[in-house]
Symmetry: C3
Subunit: 132 residues, 3 copies
């Protein structure tokens, strides 16, 4: 079952949590055991799982990526968003999560984040919920 | 259904696009909805999705990785290709893509790239096309 | 079929190989063709495939990550383990491997490693073994 989530990002760089919406779609799929594949069909955004209890964790990830891939370095790509493309591949575009007892298996501290690196933009997240 | 693609890389570091070949194999599998798992069975190559319209994007990714993981740093691994191993894990060895209406779901700008970090070599890419 | 592996890590940063245990669980599942999804339900640990023949390869990966994400940089997260969270997302929390002829498809040099970045801790690894 393929579902698409739409999100509006509000800043150039923003880690937006999407756990609740994915969890609800998984629960409504009524699949006891399986997996949920999450895919970002964009080249300047990524997808990760990391801590959602303290929002400073994703702020630290974003700032570290800014240091590793500085905006003012020299790039060939002429649109000014080369760092966003590089960060997207460092974080990844594809994430798979287990489904057990009809719910996503996530650790206590884990949340799913859309990683915007070239916002603000309208973004899609493609979910593929598969029965085992 | 498991299929193996073979590719020859031509440079030490090279991002070689493999989208067309994967799309054709997915189409010939005649699966309406499902997923395509792409795996690189090598330790000095990776796999990503990023922009394929402008080849300078993957050139920027390659050059940024060269800065982050310099060839002339000190490494324990004696074969001289420690940076290639590190870059492979930064990009990842495994990628999953949704299949809808018998085709890969990819964004307008997205292409699939084999990331060679220790070429030139003969490389395999293992595809696993699965019905949902 | 969902299975959980438990591992005790012994150092702050440690790449612990878990290939053998996953291979045995895959073989006991008696699935001819399919995939094995490996998920780490933690926010300061990751999962990768890389060389297992020479242990200095994962040592080089760990040391390079220490240089890229230094412990003594400035972070907002107050628990002192912000670098562990960042490294976890650079390596990733989710990995999928093909199963063919009842076994994991892995390259000659490939092993699966749990990447501990904030140990020593008790860690779980969630396996989801799926028939194609």
């Amino acid at each position: 079952m393929i579902e698409t989530i739409e999100r509006q990002t509000k800043a150039k760089v923003e880690f937006q949590e999407i756990t609740g919406e994915i969890q609800r779609l998984v629960e409504s799929a009524s699949i006891e055991t399986g997996m949920c594949h999450v895919f970002v069909p964009h080249t300047t955004a990524g997808i990760i799982v990391n801590e959602h209890a303290d929002p400073s964790v994703v702020q630290d990830i974003a700032e570290c990526l800014n240091r590793l891939v500085p905006q003012d370095s020299e790039y060939h790509h002429a649109e000014g968003n080369a760092p966003a493309h590089i960060k997207a591949s460092l974080m990844g575009s594809s994430l798979t999560l287990p489904i057990e007892n009809g719910k996503l298996v996530l650790g206590t501290w884990q949340g799913i984040f859309l990683c915007e690196f070239d916002g603000p933009r309208r973004r899609n997240i493609v979910l593929n919920i598969i029965k085992a």
